[in-house]
Symmetry: C2
Subunit: 189 residues, 2 copies
Amino acid sequence: MSLRHGLLGLLAEGPASGYDLARRFQEALGSVWPAQHPRIYAELARLADGGLIEVDSHGPRGRKAYRITDDGLAEVKRWLAAGEVDHTFRVETLLRAYFFWLMEPETLRAHLRAERAFYEETAGTLRAYAGAKDRGEWGTGPQARAMRVAIEAGIRVNDALASWARWAEETDPMSSETFGTAPPPEHEA
Amino acid sequence: MSLRHGLLGLLAEGPASGYDLARRFQEALGSVWPAQHPRIYAELARLADGGLIEVDSHGPRGRKAYRITDDGLAEVKRWLAAGEVDHTFRVETLLRAYFFWLMEPETLRAHLRAERAFYEETAGTLRAYAGAKDRGEWGTGPQARAMRVAIEAGIRVNDALASWARWAEETDPMSSETFGTAPPPEHEA
DNA sequence: GAGCGCATGTAAAGGGTTACATGATTCT
DNA sequence: AGAATCATGTAACCCTTTACATGCGCTC
């Protein structure tokens, strides 16, 4: 359950409404932690109930902005400091790989091509963002720096998966006698 | 909802009971797709209800082994062939990176060290598995080859995250004036 | 004044986790 | 005989997704 802490973290940057948070979750964290508005509104109500956030202001069409409280800020920091990191890696691409042996060779090749294209494109997009950050186009404050670090992780992971898909295409492991006879693959960049 | 297809995929290798599947999900897919036994038993009941699997045999202490049906096999293959891959990347490490700016410098350094150690160790373990596979110690059939490909993805992703954590430790982005002034980082292996 | 985007929510159904419960077999 | 482990399930709770519902304010 990290939606709770994700919301607190975003609110630590400044007051925001449920609508804002839904948009920012989608844009900034969407590929890492999807969250739809119903859950966000529900969680905001719970957080307000627990005194971790409070209503900051009322705006135009029923808009309600929340502000993080001292208790709330302490809670995010506690969460970040506590080492209990869940290292589960929920990525469908990896799950599917276990079942490649069930696929027709041509289907598999098409799949790997598409995957590689996707990860290469994503890595490229992230690199462009990173470049903009490095040129200071998004500010140089702590948040911008943290975002830069997060983007770097995204670049490296997407690169890794792109290179994996390329490797899998090239060694064509499911239709040849590659394994059990050939030397282990080199781990190039 | 991929537990359904994960179960079908495992059953495509041969009959198994809910208990078996829970163990295999934990061991083989646990770091990628966690699944607890209550959900597995429930899903098996649903799959049997839909005619995608059927009871294969009854064993010792109430053991019920299931077998995949032709419909079930067709359904996994359909799923694998359909290109609708969800590229969401649910990894808590990445989520936390967005909030690094809320951490004390020493806490952050300790966190990055621990993360790097974890990913390096995991990559090492996977490399050992991969070596065993390459020596043919786990057979050379289609399943073993698919497993090898999946492990390769794990190695590359864990390496990527280890190298990211090392990079973040070294550039110390949250306590220095690295960004907005320095040249972009090199993307070494 | 028509239409779009803002903004909040409820409802229903399903997915996932944790705790509880039970009994059978095998091992020592 | 006692302990460990095999094996299946139910119950409660929470998280997540999708669909439905509503109304305000701005722009054209």
